[in-house]
Amino acid sequence: MMDSPRTAVSNPPVQPMETNLTPRDLVRRSATAELPPPERQLTPVAKLIDVSKCIGCKACQSACVEWNDTHPEIEENVGVYDNPHDLTENMFTLMRFTEWINPENDNLEWLIRKDGCMHCADPGCLKACPAPGAIVQYSNGIVDFIHENCIGCGYCVKGCPFNIPRISKVDHRAYKCTLCSDRVAVGQGPACAKACPTQAIVFGTKEDMKSHAEERITDLKSRGYENAGLYDPPGVGGTHVMYVLHHADKPHIYANLPDDPKISGIVQAWKGVTKYVGLAAMGVAAAGAVLHGIFGKANKVQPEDEENAEKLVDAAEGRKEDA
């Protein structure tokens, strides 16, 4: 029975259970400088998406909607299979379809990539977030949005190297894949991974997922995909959602998956140097003003100035009267 990798080994519990992801398991918390180190280190987890096994059926989308009780809109057909057309606050994951002609053999390949939060080890969203505790990272690698703390500013959207979070137009909070933190907390895998018919999506410890990926890559190489490989981009410290790609040498062909994602330099500048230099500059300016005020001599109007003014006015009046 266990020859097939699959996410679920048991059905979800219905008896009350303690959650296994608590505030004490946080390793990062947005806009929070002093976070006490966690008492324990959870084993890092990961979702592995084997693009070569994916049949683009959108079961992941369906399961995601059902589990998270979201309500994606019924849009129009615009001549593509990608529906909804983009990630939304009601659609945390999306199959993106690309028709790609392999220049090496002129064969068509239909590349189908499940897009969604990558759960970066170095999360740009969390870095960008100004609201304390709105974005957290657990020691198992899950990056989660705590909606009560979210102010809806959209900074996470700018911070994300993969353009994932979306802000709800209704409650003005940011939404994205939680890696089903509520399920993981009771020992279940994410809804998408559980549903995935071909188990192109699997979930487990990051280490297991990496070794499973190795098997898949070996299989793909045996089928002629010489550049098959794992997408676990170091630019963001690695991710807790990884891809097996048949063409790992060119991730961009998979609906613009970034070749070498990093937190944008602009965002780094904004949340780094600008923040500190800016604060410093403003502080210096304010302090300078105060110091100058205290130690400098105020520019006071002198009695002779008043007299001169009066004279001027009188002279002018005089001219007026003379006229």
Partner: protein, 199 residues
Amino acid sequence: MNVDLSRRSFLKLAGAGVAATSLGAMGFGEAEAAEAAHVRPFKLTTTTETRNTCPYCSVACGIIIYSKGDLRKGETADIVHIEGDVDHPTNRGTLCPKGAALKDFVKSPTRLQYPMHRKPGADKFERISWDEALDGIARRMKDDRDANFVAANAKGIAVNRWSTVGMLAASATTNETAWATFKFAKSLGMVGFDNQARV
């Protein structure tokens, strides 16, 4: 009957899978001090589980229906979630995009709730009672059968054919319903009786 199943034996069976090792390693199972909810509360807690089969294609994936309320205790059961049954040998908990959204089929706004009747030429349905519907249908069937039944052919051989009323049987009803339907249709001599397998 349907819930006391082989979950435990199955788990034992499940030795070497990727996930089997993974989930244990995640620290699941360690007792935790109660703390303010951080992740979303697990929504299936205290629901009732019922084993069922996906009604779409004939892969016939095992599913579990989660409801508030238990039919077996005579309660009203409101379905809150449907998910693949991990114990099922074919689908092993997985579901396709249709199966994964079964709850929304059950809860579809276009689910029918009452018998309706459209009069000849009318531009709308009107609600009627079950008795009105069933009496009306039986009456019409009887009248037509009595008028158009072919008892015998030219040679005088009994042929027992009623071809002026036909029936299409469903493709997603249970075998038991199908058997009851079969008895009903064939005993009436209804020859124009077919099912979705034809198309």
